[in-house]
């Protein structure tokens, strides 16, 4: 996109307030576009294009709509600014009191926006259809939101592997009121956990989301996917990380769920299929060991892992807590 050519349309007589505003807005949008090209994680201004098939589609749609809005803004704000400069009482402008209405003009500025909306609706609907097609996944994982942590349970061939994922101790100490610890000294402050979710790249991974208590939401910006985790419901989404984009990606709970809503992050460790298979093998070996020599009662994740597909333990007795059942 030729930023200079687009900027030229915003030029007007110096000193008018709207021009300054328009320029600032434009510069910010332009920075957003330029800075984010090719980046995997956000540059701090704009949505990250991300590392999955869907996140790239979503990013393209977002940029399309953004640029259309910028173009419309240039035209509309431009007209307003010109009017405010040219037709000033202080300059002796005489109002044209015969200019009362025009049916033709009303039709034109109704039809044109409708056409623009249709142009946006087409790619949006296509992308939405792709997002909602959760068939034929290679791996399925059940994700359960709790107050205030996530639980991941692998289903199918890897059934039995399951664990809780809680805010890391370092972050948890630092975030306490008057902790005296500078958050900037904590690696990945508020975005690190004890046991990250591990998934392979290059294959369609389906996540089944639910909750054991209140509504939570699972979101990793770099995956372009956010979905609510609702007690009594199972929502499903799919993620396919592009091959070559292995690494650690971080997200957060995105639905107000109580006091520590801001402190239940999501960390996903994306491995190559080969490394993922090795990881699965290690987990299964650990499971076998745990079954052979049962650990003392203070090891809830092992006990849960030993009984695949079991209902998550009932929470502290509270009336009306929803129960998740298979």
């Amino acid at each position: 996109m030729n930023v200079n050519r687009l900027m030229a349309n915003v030029d007007g007589p110096a000193g008018t307030r709207g021009v300054a505003l328009g320029r600032i807005l434009f510069a910010l949008f332009a920075l957003a576009a330029a800075g984010s090209a090719g980046a995997n994680t956000s540059n701090g201004y704009n949505m990250p294009p991300g590392v999955t098939v869907l996140s790239r589609d979503i990013y393209q749609l977002h940029m399309l709509v953004l640029w259309i809005c910028v173009a419309i803004a240039v035209v509309v704000f431009g007209a307003m600014i010109v009017a405010m400069v040219r037709f000033r009482h202080s300059r002796g402008a005489v109002p044209d009191v015969t200019m009362l209405h025009s049916t033709k003009v009303e039709i034109v500025w109704t039809i044109i926006p409708v056409l623009i909306l249709i142009a946006m609706a087409v790619p949006a609907t296509k992308t939405l259809l792709r997002i909602e097609d959760t068939r034929n996944s290679a791996l399925t994982i059940r994700v359960t939101g709790y107050q205030w942590k996530w639980q991941y349970q692998y289903l199918g061939d890897d059934a039995g592997i399951g664990f809780f994922s809680t805010l890391s101790e370092e972050s948890n100490f630092a975030r306490q009121l008057h902790s005296g610890i500078d958050p900037r000294s904590v690696p990945h402050y508020l975005q690190s956990v004890d046991h990250p979710l591990v998934i392979p790249s290059g294959v369609k991974v389906e996540l089944l989301l639910t909750s054991a208590d209140v509504i939570h939401a699972w979101w990793v910006p770099d995956f372009g996917m956010k979905r609510s985790a609702i007690p009594g419901f199972i929502n499903d989404i799919w993620i396919k990380v592009l091959p070559g984009k292995e690494g650690v990606y971080r997200g957060q709970c995105a639905a107000l769920c109580g006091r520590d809503h801001g402190f239940m992050p999501i960390v996903v460790d994306v491995k190559t299929p080969a490394d993922f298979a090795k990881w699965v093998a290690r987990q299964k070996a650990a499971l076998k060991q745990a079954q052979a020599a049962p650990a003392p009662i203070a090891a809830p994740s092992a006990a849960r892992a030993a009984a695949p597909g079991l209902v998550p333990a009932k929470r502290v007795a509270r009336p009306l807590t929803a129960q998740v059942s298979n």
Partner: protein, 527 residues
């Protein structure tokens, strides 16, 4: 046929507290609504200052995370139900009778009751801050099961909401009956000013949806206390059903908060362009279309909750469609200015500010309508930026513009123009510093309703907080300007704005408007 109304025994208002407690005069009641809303604006604003102070830097410096959630919840409830809605009702009370040429509202005693419910309801609501367990902290949206986890404050919240709903419904009935029955002879509906039109339509929206909110919160109440399972999956209920019912109210609610603003802008821009509103009939159809469409878009608040694909597609299309009549309004306001003769007194400054910044809020709204993109925007600061743009430099600026427009008519004095213009410029600059960076935060990955954040979000949060402190301080100028104007100032004439004054009925009576005006119906010119 003109009928004089016998006011021989109440030419002068009652003395002391009785005047206000037993007020049936639309001007007194309007004044009370406006004063109440200004106080609530500062109360809600103080909560916002604490929120932004906590969010100034990463780490927790000031408040407990639970209290932070109480603040965000109460900030929204106070601003929506205590500041914005009562301000619009106050403007309706003052101006509708003056604009339609009637001596008062149709139901003056019900009008009094509608107002006095508010201080009582807000005392109840605000006192939850000091009950055991604290104020409600599940967001103003009160989603179960979370909202059912709160103790003592919960029934107080529900009762307060019921009271507020009753007040709004009664106020809306009053507006409709007044407009349909008490217009001066010769004022056909199509001759009625746009502000009255916008309120007529808003009143129907209120009557349609406030009972829905009442139903939703009553179901929350029975789930909590009487063993029902409306929203409890274990009992066969459905948390999603609350969302549907709440947002069926909630979406028209946000249009309730903006349609009167549209009416105000349609009064101010023609005045200071010295030119009639372009496409007035079109503008009325646009308001009506927006009101109708507002009933069929509620799902866009729930895109990430796992609706069926067909519902996602339907709500995406219907939400995008609302952009059309809204755009028509923006274009008509611009066309009103085009080939006009513009001057920039404070009301016009706020109206033009509205035009620019509400449109920015509209653009982010259009982006939010795109469902796949919304999977990234939803529940982030991008949404917070959107609704604050349409509500603050949108609805609130329209209210401030209306106050600056009609205050000389109400008080009989001009206010300090320099103070008002300074208020405008500081507000505009700081409101953008406050809310524009929130778009970046949302896009970069910061969720909403969190008291603390990962360090990569620090810079924009700091900028936003500075904007908040500046914006908050600037509002003191508004209060000072109003108080000074009430107490004195250069005398205002009937035609307050000189050669720019339009032909509306309110400008044919003296400033200050007499305690009883239009006791004899005015003549409406045939043309």
């Amino acid at each position: 046929m003109a009928h004089a109304i016998d006011t021989a025994h109440d030419d002068q208002p009652a003395k002391g507290i009785k005047r206000w407690l037993f007020a049936t005069n639309h001007k007194d009641i309007g004044t009370m609504y406006l004063v109440f809303s200004l106080i609530m604006f500062f109360v809600g604003g103080s909560m916002a200052m604490v929120i932004r102070a906590e969010l100034f830097e990463p780490g927790m410096q000031i408040v407990d995370p639970g209290f932070f959630n109480e603040l965000t919840t109460m900030h929204a409830l106070v601003m929506i139900f205590g500041a914005v809605m009562p301000a619009f009702v106050g403007l309706a009370n003052w101006m509708i009778p003056l604009q339609v040429g009637s001596p008062d509202m149709a139901l003056p005693r019900m009008n009094n009751f509608s107002f006095w419910i508010l201080p009582f309801a807000f005392t109840l609501l605000l006192s939850t801050l000091i009950v055991p367990g604290g104020a409600p902290a599940a967001g103003w949206t009160m989603y179960p099961p979370l909202s059912l986890q709160f103790g003592d404050s919960f029934p107080m919240l529900i009762f307060a909401i019921h009271l507020l709903g009753v007040s709004s419904i009664m106020g809306a009935i009053n507006v409709i009956v007044t407009i349909l029955n008490m217009r001066a002879p010769g004022m056909t509906l199509l001759k009625m000013p746009l502000f009255c039109w916008s309120w007529l339509i808003t009143a129907y929206l209120l009557i349609a949806v406030m009972p829905v909110l009442a139903g939703a919160v009553t179901m929350l109440l029975t789930d909590h206390f009487f063993g029902t399972s409306f929203f409890n999956a274990a009992g066969g209920g459905d948390p999603m059903m609350f969302e549907h019912i709440f947002w069926f109210f909630g979406h028209p609610e946000v249009y309730i908060m903006i349609l009167p603003a549209f009416g105000i802008i349609s009064e101010i821009i023609p005045t200071f362009s010295r030119k009639p509103l372009f496409g007035a009939t079109s503008m009325i159809y646009a308001i009506a279309s927006i009101a109708f469409l507002s009933f069929i878009v509620w799902g866009h608040h729930m895109f990430v909750d796992g609706m069926p694909l067909s519902a996602e597609v339907f709500f995406m299309f219907s939400t995008m469609l609302i952009a059309v009549p809204t755009g028509v309004k923006v274009f008509n306001w611009t066309a009103t200015m085009w080939r006009g003769s513009l001057s920039f007194e404070p009301p016009m400054l706020f109206a033009v500010g509205f035009l620019f910044m509400f449109t920015i809020g509209g653009f982010s709204g259009l982006m939010l309508a795109m469902v796949p993109a919304d999977f990234q925007y939803n529940q982030t600061y991008f949404v917070v930026a959107h609704f604050h743009y349409v509500l603050v430099p949108g609805a609130v600026f329209a209210i401030m513009g209306a106050v600056y427009y009609w205050l000389p008519k109400w008080t009989g004095h001009m206010y300090n123009m320099t103070l008002a213009k300074t208020h405008f410029w500081l507000s505009t600059i700081f409101v953008n510093v406050l809310f524009f960076p929130q778009h970046f935060l949302g896009l970069a990955g910061m969720p909403r309703r969190i008291p603390d954040y990962a360090v990569q979000f620090t810079d924009w949060n700091m900028v936003s907080s500075i904007g908040a402190f500046g914006f908050g301080l600037a509002q003191i100028l508004f209060a000072v300007a109003i108080i000074q104007c009430v107490r004195g100032g250069q005398k205002a004439t009937a035609k307050v704005w000189g050669d720019a004054t339009p032909t509306g009925l309110e400008w044919t009576i003296p400033s200050p408007a007499p305690y009883h005006s239009f006791t004899t119906a005015p003549e409406i010119p045939a043309a």
